[in-house]
């Protein structure tokens, strides 16, 4: 826990950083064409937020992110758990998975635009390719790293294959999967934004691209700020969800010595 003094230091850092920036712009030492003043960026954000058309962009980005996230995560968990259990299939598919994972996902964006058009689905597809592998590798690892003693014990206690999946593998992998869920949220946003940035008619990425086209650095920075807040909100939601789902893990300092 942070105490009040630490909080004050954090606040001081923010004031020094942004105050210095603002003063630097005012004093003419920083070129506002490249680094617009924090106040003007804040003003732009407020201007956007109070304009209803902004929410159309926000909604589209949220929709793309959520769809990409959900589809990518589901595919990742299902295929990851499957290959974690099916050793032979995993051995056979391993080089293909590595090869696909080696492709920088951003270069797939034009391919998806070609296949799926400039609308929603090309962005969802890009987000899926980014999210999938993170969840996939974590689910795979989670299933493979189950304590062998627990596996033996459950088998002797009479667990069927389905019992093993439900009572042993999935709960064991859940910690890994949940931690990957938080990492992959950022990637889902990246997928959606890059897709929009490269070609779209709406969304936060579209706003940034538009501002950039007008040499409007304030707009670009305002877009970045909005995105950061966006990701923070989702991350907070997931932290809360994780706390609700994994109740069996020791919280810090709660572990008993053997």
């Amino acid at each position: 826990m942070l105490n009040i003094r630490d909080r004050m230091i954090q606040l001081l850092l923010v004031v020094v950083l942004f105050g210095g920036w603002e003063l630097g712009v005012k004093a003419g030492m920083i070129d506002p064409f490249f680094f617009p003043s924090p106040l003007s960026i804040g003003g732009k954000v407020v201007e956007w937020v109070s304009d209803t058309s902004f929410y159309r962009h926000l909604n589209i980005t949220v929709l793309e992110t959520v769809l990409g996230y959900v589809v990518g995560t589901l595919l990742g968990v299902v295929i990851g758990v499957w290959l974690g259990l099916a050793r032979r299939a995993a051995r056979i598919l391993d080089p293909f998975i590595k090869a696909i994972n080696a492709i920088p996902r951003v270069v797939l964006a034009p391919v998806f635009v070609l296949w799926l058009g400039l609308g929603l689905w090309s962005k969802v597809a890009l987000a899926v390719t980014l999210v999938f592998f993170i969840t996939f590798f974590n689910a795979l690892q989670g299933v493979r790293e189950v304590n062998p003693v627990i596996l033996s014990n459950s088998r002797i206690l009479g667990a069927s294959r389905f019992d093993m999946l439900r009572h042993v593998y999935l709960p064991a992998a859940a910690t890994w999967i949940l931690s990957s869920l938080r990492t992959s949220v950022g990637f889902a946003v990246v997928g959606a934004i890059i897709g929009e940035y490269l070609g779209s008619s709406a969304g936060l990425g579209h706003l940034i691209a538009q501002s950039e086209g007008n040499f409007d650095a304030v707009g670009v920075f305002a877009g970045i700020v909005v995105l950061a807040i966006f990701v923070l909100v989702i991350d907070t939601l997931l932290t809360w969800l994780e706390g609700r789902l994994i109740t069996w893990k020791p919280k810090d300092g709660q572990e008993r010595p053997a």
């Binding site: 627990i150 002797i156 206690l157 009479g158 019992d163 042993v168 020791p250 053997a258």
Partner: protein, 278 residues
């Protein structure tokens, strides 16, 4: 004065029928892993109601034998029968007490104890009734909703004991179950185990490197040779009266006598083992 309650068993004085069909029969079993042979030509039987302790130097393949009885490992040669049936695949008729923590950390104490019944399709209220009874038996009443990480080492062992015994197994297998516990907790758990065992006298196979534990718990102590290619070298019958007080039994002259006899056999093997892996 005894620090532990003296258990009272109805059949403490009556001899057990050792002539009936053996519960576990190990016939000429050889266990190899690639070029490495852990145990070779092991012959061993465990009578109904017999408490068999197996001792041997580290790395002599004690656990391998236990895992073969449980069906977790398949013998390279030879056969194993359990209650008259050949072991083929993981056996559900054994209760296995592992050395390590084998509880499912994401389940509560109660859910862990119920697991074997749940896998057998027992109805939830019957499961709850039996698990409550077992938790009371092992002295963990009131801990039902705890998670394993909230328990001490001894408490976790008690949960494991209840988890293994609730399914009423034909044979109880124990792989150095108390070796990770401190000496006082270990003595407490050992007398607890004897108390539970005396209620219905299942056959037990206990693996240990602690000769004191082997003698104070077992009806018979078997000594295994130093590995690799370990085999049975000696078998000693322990005719100390039951119920026994594990914390004080080592002061008994009969105990010391047995200890000396078995140790002289075990010592040779331990020395051999040290010569191989100093």
């Amino acid at each position: 004065m005894s620090a532990y309650p003296r258990p009272v068993a109805a059949d403490a004085t009556t001899p057990r029928p050792l002539n009936s069909q053996p519960k576990v029969r190990i016939d000429n079993v050889t266990m190899s892993f690639g070029a490495f042979t852990a145990v070779r030509d092991v012959n061993l039987t465990v009578a109904d109601g017999e408490f068999l302790a197996i001792v041997g130097p580290t790395g002599c393949g004690k656990s391998t034998i236990l895992n073969a009885i449980a069906g977790l490992l398949k013998p390279t040669k030879g056969s194993i029968t359990l209650a008259g049936k050949p072991v083929n695949g993981v056996s559900h008729d054994v209760g296995y007490l592992f050395q390590q923590d084998a509880l499912l950390p994401w389940k509560t104490v109660e859910q862990n104890v119920e697991l074997g019944l749940q896998f057998r399709g027992v109805a939830p209220d019957e499961r709850a009734r039996q698990s409550r009874a077992w938790l009371e038996k092992v002295g963990l009443k009131g801990f039902e909703k705890r998670y394993p990480h909230q328990l001490s080492g001894g408490q976790k062992k008690r949960v494991q004991l209840a988890q293994a015994l609730i399914v009423n197994p034909e044979v109880i297998l124990m792989d150095e179950p108390f070796s990770a516990l401190d000496i006082h907790t270990r003595h407490l758990m050992q007398s607890e185990l004897l108390r539970l065992w005396q209620e219905n006298r299942k056959s037990v196979v206990l693996i240990t490197h602690d000769l004191e534990e082997a003698i104070s718990l077992g009806d018979r102590v078997v000594v295994l040779a130093a590995g690799p290619a370990s085999t049975v070298v000696d078998s000693f019958s322990v005719d100390l009266p039951r119920p026994r007080n594990v914390a004080e039994i080592m002061m008994d002259p009969q105990f010391m006598d047995l200890y000396r006899k078995i140790w002289s056999s075990l010592k040779t093997e331990v020395e051999k083992s040290y010569a191989q892996h100093p």
